[in-house]
């Protein structure tokens, strides 16, 4: 248990080695170090899980303290970790999926000149994320929080020679800063209220001191959620994530699946007690999540860039996670986080494999018919798509269904309807992607078509493993069967207080099995309907989408331009800020600050023009002044 620190330390060591000496090490070695660090971290995490499982369910809570970071009066912040089922799940997801992405990257980034730099950043990313999920107080969490923000900037802008990539990196960083600002304010308010940043102490104090719905707790939770909005790409701060695909594809996989965007969901789940005390915040989280889920899914319907579609699907799925957390189903939210990590990593890596095969082509309108040429990629990608669409028995079915079910059970009819519609949209756009990419006539230019090749083994094996996980990952949480809810039983102690506050899962009020089954049927039916609709539109009658686009030209244009949100932000936020900065530059900087600096310089220059006359260069004058000094000294001594 005391050795938990090695889990984030290993990737960090990999970062140091590759970052400092990577350029001088042989390529093979760089990849081995990076993957080895992640692999070892995953093994350490597995061992930790084993130790954790030895404990009784309520005793699965450790806080190893390593170092007192800050101590001022009563205030103390330790560098210490919190190992409980929740962080354990996150650690396993981050290290496991992260490891597979690392292995995949060896093949994907093989030709890139920035190979060592890439792996150094990737390791740092994983390390920061691990620090984030393992922290036992908000401040250490914030370090990891900022760390993943930094790494996302570095990796999205990895191909910094490309203007769009470096712009996307900056966008990600700046939009995240906005969220981080809210998060930081939340931390300040927490400290101001509780005098501590340690999760356990905060929660214990909150349970004793505040009644449900207290304004202070609502304030804290809303501010923290602003941070989560930025990091987990929710409305209105989601705009950075679709642009984040400018980075290398495995980076997108890492950002979208294992690290970064899950941080917000994790943070909300971690602070479940606070959220449970603030029903207003819960409702807000649920609303934002649900709106984002449908909103992003609708944009995803018409995008033509394979990675952009996936990016919007991530935003949408994150919305589902927040919806789950918002209705009090934290277990469902985390469960969906985990399964989403599997299938989204799979989908992104599969997309990367397609892009790799087509020498960089990302437009699905110029793909098609790849099924026979990329059999492994095709098979795994379809499995990922089935999982995200929520088809039984794939992982996404169980997790998404649980969120929908819990939403309905908590009485949010409207949200349930919206989320169900979003699920249909998800199925539709995912299979639109599949049909356009892998089926039908080839629409590639002949040159690219000539080079199409299946992924190398380092890329194919992670795809297969992730496909297997996308299939089986949901089976740890099978509703309706006795002993089927393994995952839930594992996580329940963490959310015990929150559940009690919310009055959930009393056991006695468990909904009837037929209702659960019926709802499952409904969601599968909706997903299947989406798939068949996609089949009808893109397989049977490829001209139909074009006609539809012409018929509903205005709606299509709105969707295609992503509701003009970027343009809206540009006009209302970015441009006014730029103008303010420009005028500040002109007036304050140029006139005032530069004037003061230049004024100091010219004042001394004119002063020295006077003083320098003393320095004649004549030895006699200097000797004279020495003598004068000696006289003064002598007279002074005599006067004593």
């Amino acid at each position: 248990m005391e050795t938990a620190w090695v889990i984030p330390a290993l990737p960090f060591a990999g970062f140091l080695i590759n970052g400092l000496w990577g350029r001088r090490l042989p390529k093979k070695f760089v990849g081995w170090i990076a993957c080895g660090a992640m692999g070892l971290a995953f093994l350490a995490a597995s061992r930790l899980l084993w130790i954790l499982l030895q404990e009784t369910p309520t005793g699965r809570f450790w806080e190893p303290v390593y170092y007192t970071w800050i101590r001022a009066g009563d205030f103390q912040v330790d560098v210490s970790f919190l190992i409980d089922p929740l962080s354990m799940v996150m650690i396993l997801v981050v290290t496991g999926v992260g490891f597979l992405i690392h292995v995949y990257s060896i093949g994907y980034m093989h030709e890139d000149p920035g190979y060592p730099r890439y792996f150094a950043y990737l390791n740092l990313f994983a390390s920061a994320m691990l620090l984030l999920v393992m922290a036992n107080n908000l401040l250490v969490m914030f370090v990891g929080w900022e760390g993943v923000g930094l790494c996302s900037y570095l990796l999205i802008g990895f191909w910094y020679e490309k203007q769009s990539a470096s712009d996307a990196g900056k966008k990600a960083f700046i939009v995240n800063r906005i969220g981080d600002f809210g998060f930081l304010l939340g931390i300040f308010l927490t400290f101001w209220t509780f005098g501590s940043l340690n999760f356990r102490e905060i929660f214990e104090a909150a349970l004793v001191r505040f009644p449900t719905g207290d304004a202070v707790v609502v304030g804290i939770t809303l501010l923290l959620f602003v941070g989560a909005m930025g990091k987990s790409a929710q409305i209105p701060l989601y705009v950075w994530l679709p642009d984040a695909m400018e980075g290398p594809t495995p980076v997108s996989a890492l950002i979208h699946a294992a690290t970064m965007v899950t941080a917000g969901v994790y943070m909300v789940a971690r602070c479940s007690v606070l959220y449970a005390l603030a029903p207003f915040s819960m409702g807000f989280v649920a609303m934002i999540g649900c709106t984002t889920a449908v909103f992003a899914a609708s944009i995803g319907l018409v995008q033509n860039d394979i990675k952009r579609v996936l990016a919007y699907s991530t935003v949408s799925q994150l919305g589902y996670m927040f919806l789950g957390c918002g209705v009090g189903a934290f277990v469902a939210g985390i469960f969906h986080l985990m399964t989403h990590a599997f299938f989204k990593a799979l989908l992104f890596l599969g997309a990367g494999s397609v892009i790799h095969a087509l020498s960089g082509e990302q437009d699905i309108q110029r793909m098609g018919g790849l099924r026979s040429k990329l059999p492994v990629t095709f098979a795994t990608f379809v499995m990922g798509s089935l999982a995200i669409a929520g088809i039984f028995p794939f992982a996404g079915f169980f997790s998404k269904d649980e969120i929908l079910f819990e939403t309905l059970m908590s009485g949010h009819w409207v949200l349930y309807g919206l989320a169900l519609g979003g699920a249909g949209l998800t199925a539709f756009y995912m299979f639109r992607l599949v049909f356009l990419t892998f089926f039908g006539e080839s629409r590639m230019d002949p040159h690219a078509a000539h080079h199409v090749h299946e992924a190398p083994r380092t890329m194919a094996v992670p795809l297969m493993i992730l496909a297997a996980l996308s299939l089986t990952g949901g089976w740890v949480q099978i509703p309706g069967i006795e002993g089927g809810r393994v995952f839930g039983a594992f996580l329940d102690p963490v959310f015990h207080e929150a559940s009690q506050l919310l009055g959930h899962h009393g056991g006695a009020t468990h909904p009837p099995l037929w209702l659960e089954g019926a709802l499952m049927g409904v969601s599968v039916a909706v997903a299947l309907a989406g798939i068949f609709l996609a089949y009808g539109w893109y397989m049977k009658d490829p001209q139909r989408p074009v006609r539809a686009a012409q018929k509903f030209a205005r709606a299509y244009r709105w969707l295609f331009h992503k509701y003009y949100v970027d343009e809206f932000y540009q006009a209302t936020v970015v441009n006014p800020l730029k103008q303010a900065a420009e005028s500040t530059h002109q007036w304050v900087d140029r006139r005032f600050i530069d004037g003061a600096v230049d004024g100091t310089g010219s004042a001394f220059r004119s002063l020295s023009a006077v003083v320098r006359r003393i320095q004649t260069g004549l030895v006699h004058h200097y000797a004279l002044s020495v003598l004068a000094g000696a006289c003064v000294l002598l007279l002074f001594v005599l006067a004593l």
Partner: protein, 172 residues
């Protein structure tokens, strides 16, 4: 008798020192400087500092002055260009300050503060027991002042090296 000798030696010292400063010709200045050093040697003898008197004659009147004359000869200096009006102009500036300085110094020297009695040191009897001043100084140099004495050799070595570096013609 001693006072008489003191007055004679100090007059020679001061007058020839003034001539060093006054005389426009550097060679004659140097010759007057030799006279000054000899007279000072006499003053040292009056104070029973035989070793220092010998050193004065050997080092200053001998070695140092030879060096001076040698350099003057080397540079072939003539009394050219001693602008007397500029000299007097500088004198006008320097004289008041020097008078202030001398006034202060003489006041200090004649004040009771300077009336020192035998308080430190080994005493006259000890010097005699050592067999005279030269022996006594030599013994002191090689016993409790041994380290500085050795260090002087390093100082001289550094000076020699420095002079060679400076005087050597630059290679082009």
């Amino acid at each position: 008798m001693e006072l008489f000798l003191f007055v004679v030696f100090s007059l020679i010292t001061l007058v020839s020192a003034a001539a060093v400063v006054w005389h426009p010709h550097p060679v004659k200045s140097a010759l007057f400087l030799i006279v000054t050093f000899f007279a000072m040697g006499g003053l040292y003898l009056l104070m029973q500092a035989e070793f220092i008197a010998l050193m004065q004659v050997l080092v200053y009147a001998g070695a140092v002055m030879v060096l001076f004359l040698f350099v003057i000869m080397l540079l072939n200096l003539k009394p050219r260009g001693e602008d007397r009006s500029a000299f007097r102009k500088r004198l006008r500036w320097a004289a008041p300050l020097i008078l202030v300085f001398l006034g202060a110094a003489l006041t200090a020297v004649t004040s009771p503060l300077a009336q020192l009695g035998p308080s430190a040191g080994q005493g006259v009897g000890w010097v005699e027991s050592q067999g005279g001043n030269v022996r006594a100084v030599g013994r002191a140099l090689f016993t409790h002042a041994f380290l500085p004495f050795e260090v002087t050799s390093v100082v001289l070595l550094v000076a020699v090296v420095g002079v060679i570096v400076l005087a050597k013609k630059e290679r082009r």
